[in-house]
C-alpha cells in the first residue's frame, strides 16, 4: 500500500427507506481499484450491485435511498462529502457511467450530435461549432458508428439498439473519464451485439487506460472482460479478488454455487444446477451470515455471527466462517 489506489470504497452503507422498513441495500462494501483495472461486480438481482454504483456517483433515488456511512475516495477526495456542484464536475468528466437500457438512455427529442456534444459543451471543451462537430465525430468513430457524418442530425429512434448503446458509450467517452461504470450494459442487447459491445469496452479501456466497473450477473462476461471480480450477496461483498483465482477456485460457498449454476458448453446436462432456497428478505436479514440458510457448509456458528471479510493467503478476500475453520481449500 505505497500508492493510494485510483478508487477506494470503504465501508459504504446505503440504506433504502421503504414503507415496510429499512433495507440495507449496500451494507459495508469495501473495495479498491487501480488505474486500468476492470472490476466485475456480480451477484443476483437485489444484491446491491447497482446501488453500490449509484452511491459512488451519488445518483440515488431520493428521498427513498440514502448513503448513511462510509467513504468513496477518488483522486484524494471523499466523493460523499463533495458539494453538489463539485459532484457535477466529477460526473461525466472524471467518472462516466453507462446505464442498463440503451433504448431508454438517449433522450428521444434531441439529435445525436446534440447529445454526444453535450459533455463537451458542459465543460467548455469545444472552441467553436466546427471544433465541437469534429470532437463529436471523433468519439463516434471511436465507438465504430458507421458513417458518423450522416448520423449527426439523426434522432435515437433512427438508431438500432446496438448503435444506441455505442452512442451511450461515446457520450461516456466524451468526458474522457478515468473510471467508467457500466451498469449491466448489455442486458437488453442480443448476444452478438452484446459480444461486440464488450469487445468495444475492452478496446476503449486499452486505448484510454481508464478503469472499469462492470456490473453484471453473468460470470462468463466477467471472465472475458475483467481482471478483478467482486461477488455481492445481500448488500455485502462476499468474495473479492483476481478473476482467474476466484473463478478457478472459489473460496466462498456462494461463488462456488454461482459457478456451479453456469451451463458448461459441450456437456449434456439434464438440468442446470440451482442454488437451493431464496435470497434473504433484506427487510429482516438473518442475524448471522446471510447465505447460511442456503449454504452446504453452514455450521452452527454461521447462524449467530456475521463473517468478517478476511484476506486469504493468495491475496484475495472472502467472508466465510468455514474458511477460518480451514474447511475450504
Amino acid at each position: 500500500m505505497t500508492q493510494a489506489p485510483l478508487l477506494s470504497v470503504e465501508d459504504l452503507r446505503t440504506y433504502c427507506y421503504t414503507r415496510a422498513g429499512v433495507v440495507k441495500a449496500v451494507d459495508g462494501v469495501s473495495f479498491a481499484l487501480e488505474r486500468g483495472d476492470s472490476l466485475g461486480l456480480v451477484g443476483e438481482s437485489g444484491s446491491g450491485k447497482s446501488m453500490t454504483c449509484n452511491s459512488i456517483l451519488r445518483l440515488l433515488p431520493r428521498p427513498a435511498a440514502r448513503t448513511v456511512g462510509g467513504r468513496v475516495l477518488w483522486d484524494g477526495r471523499d466523493l460523499l462529502t463533495l458539494s453538489e456542484r463539485e459532484m457535477r464536475s466529477v460526473r461525466g468528466r472524471e467518472i462516466g457511467m453507462i446505464l442498463q437500457d440503451p433504448l431508454m438512455s438517449l433522450n428521444p427529442v434531441f439529435t445525436i450530435a446534440n447529445q454526444v456534444g453535450e459533455p463537451f459543451r458542459l465543460r467548455g471543451a469545444a472552441k467553436s461549432r466546427s471544433d465541437l462537430r469534429e470532437k463529436v465525430l471523433d468519439v463516434l468513430r471511436q465507438v465504430h458508428i458507421p458513417s458518423p457524418e450522416a448520423r449527426l442530425s439523426q434522432y435515437p429512434f433512427e438508431f438500432s439498439g446496438g448503435m444506441r448503446q455505442r452512442t451511450v458509450a461515446a457520450i461516456a467517452l466524451a468526458g474522457s473519464p478515468g473510471l467508467l461504470i457500466a451498469d449491466e450494459p448489455t442486458t437488453s442487447l442480443d448476444v452478438t451485439i452484446q459480444d461486440q459491445f464488450l469487445r468495444l469496452l475492452r478496446e476503449l479501456q486499452e486505448e484510454t487506460g481508464m478503469a472499469l466497473i462492470l456490473v453484471t450477473h453473468d460470470l462468463g462476461i466477467v471472465a472475458e472482460t475483467c481482471n478483478k471480480v467482486a461477488v455481492m450477496y445481500a448488500g455485502k461483498i462476499v468474495e473479492f479478488g483476481d478473476v482467474r483465482q476466484v473463478l478457478r477456485s472459489p473460496a466462498h460457498p456462494y461463488t462456488e454455487a454461482l459457478l456451479k449454476a453456469l451451463p458448461v458448453p459441450g456437456t449434456r446436462q439434464k438440468r442446470l444446477y440451482q442454488i437451493p432456497g431464496e435470497p434473504p428478505n433484506l427487510l429482516d436479514p438473518p442475524a448471522g451470515c446471510a447465505f447460511e440458510p442456503r449454504c452446504h457448509r453452514a455450521m452452527q456458528a454461521c447462524k449467530n455471527a456475521r463473517p468478517p471479510i478476511k484476506r486469504l493467503s493468495d491475496g484475495r478476500q472472502a467472508a466465510c466462517l468455514a474458511l477460518e475453520a480451514g474447511e475450504v481449500q
Binding site: L57, L59, E84, R88, S89, V90, R91, G92, R93, G96, M97, L99, Q100, D101, M104, S105, L106, N107, P108, V109, F110, T111, E118, P119, L122, R123, Y155, F157, V168, I171, A172, G175
Partner: protein, 305 residues
C-alpha cells in the same frame, strides 16, 4: 407538411360553414329584431316593410345563401344597432380581446408551468401539497364569482385597480388574472403529471450522469419530453380564451368581442353576432392547426404525411 396544413385548413373551412349555419339558425330562433328596432306605435305595415328591407321575409335557406355570397366577398352585412358594417365593428373590438386573452394566457402558462414542474420535482413536499390545494380551488371556483370578489376586494376596498373599463395597464390586470386562474390550475395539474411521467426515465438519469445541473436536467431534458401534452392544452386554452372572454368582459365592462357578442345578441343584431362568431371560430381553427404543427417541432418522431 404543406399538404397536411392545406388539408387541415380545408377541414377547418368545413367547420366554419357548420358554425355559421348553426349560429345563423339559432339567431333567427332568438327573436324578431323588428320588434326592437321599431317604436311601440309602429303599424304592422311598417314591420312588414322593415322585414323586407332587412331581407328577413325570404325563406331561411335563401337568406343563408345571400349571407354566404356576401360573406365570401368580405361583406358580413350592416349592424342594425350601430349602423355600421358588422365586420368593421368586430375588427375594431378584436385588439382589446387579443390583449386581454394574450395577457391572461401568458399568466396562465407561466404560473401553471412553473408550479406544475416544481411540484413534480418536489413531489410530496409542502410546496407540492399547497399547489395541489390551489389547483383544486382554481378549477372549482366559477369565473364570474372570482371576478366579482376581485372587484370587491382589490378595486372597491383596497382601491389598487380600477373596477372596470379599458385604458391604462392597471385596467388589464384584474380581468386578466380572473381569466387566467382556471387555465393556470389546469396547466399546473397537467404539467405536474406529464413531468412525473418523464422524470423517472433513464435519459433523465443519463442527463445527471453527464454532469448537467439539476435545472438543466429538469427544464431542458425533462420539459422537452413533457411538452406535447402541455402544448396541446396550451393551444386549446388560448383558443378557448378568445371565445370565453364573454363572461369576463361583461363583468369588467371590457370593450372586446365577448362584450360585443352579448350586446349584439340582446339587440338581435344578427349581422354582428354572425361576424363575431365567424371570427372566433376562425381563430379557434387556426390556433388548433398551429398546435398540431408544433408537435413536429417538439417530437422528431411525428411526421406529417
Amino acid at each position: 407538411m404543406l399538404r397536411y396544413a392545406l388539408k387541415r385548413l380545408g377541414v377547418g373551412l368545413l367547420c366554419l360553414v357548420g358554425v355559421s349555419i348553426i349560429i345563423f339558425v339559432a339567431m333567427r330562433l332568438a327573436g324578431d329584431p323588428t320588434l326592437l328596432l321599431l317604436p311601440d306605435d309602429a303599424t304592422d305595415q311598417d314591420r312588414i316593410e322593415l322585414r323586407q328591407e332587412l331581407g328577413l321575409d325570404k325563406p331561411l335557406p335563401v337568406q343563408y345563401a345571400i349571407f354566404v355570397t356576401d360573406a365570401v366577398q368580405g361583406d358580413f352585412g350592416m349592424s342594425t344597432r350601430w349602423k355600421m358594417p358588422a365586420m368593421e365593428l368586430v375588427l375594431a373590438r378584436l385588439p382589446a380581446t387579443l390583449q386581454l386573452a394574450g395577457l391572461a394566457f401568458s399568466i396562465a402558462v407561466a404560473i401553471g408551468l412553473l408550479s406544475g414542474v416544481t411540484s413534480a420535482t418536489t413531489r410530496g413536499s409542502v410546496f407540492d401539497q399547497g399547489v395541489r390545494l390551489c389547483v383544486t380551488l382554481g378549477l372549482a371556483v366559477p369565473v364570474f364569482w372570482v371576478g366579482l370578489i376581485f372587484i370587491m376586494v382589490f378595486a372597491v376596498d383596497l382601491g389598487w385597480f380600477p373596477t372596470s373599463g379599458r385604458g391604462s395597464f392597471a385596467h388589464l390586470i384584474l380581468p386578466a388574472v380572473t381569466m387566467a386562474l382556471n387555465p393556470a390550475a389546469a396547466m399546473s395539474r397537467l404539467s405536474r403529471s406529464a413531468m412525473l411521467g418523464v422524470l423517472g426515465a433513464d435519459y433523465i438519469k443519463m442527463a445527471r450522469v453527464k454532469g448537467n445541473s439539476e435545472a438543466r436536467v429538469v427544464w431542458k431534458h425533462g420539459l422537452r419530453n413533457a411538452a406535447i401534452p402541455v402544448a396541446t392544452l396550451a393551444g386549446i386554452q388560448l383558443a378557448n380564451m378568445i371565445g370565453n372572454t364573454v363572461v369576463v368582459e361583461t363583468i369588467f365592462a371590457w370593450p372586446g368581442i365577448g362584450k360585443l357578442i352579448i350586446d349584439a345578441i340582446f339587440a338581435r343584431d344578427f349581422a354582428v353576432v354572425q361576424a363575431a362568431i365567424c371570427v372566433v371560430a376562425a381563430a379557434y381553427i387556426i390556433l388548433n392547426l398551429a398546435v398540431d404543427l408544433t408537435y413536429g417541432l417538439l417530437d422528431p418522431q411525428i411526421r406529417y404525411d
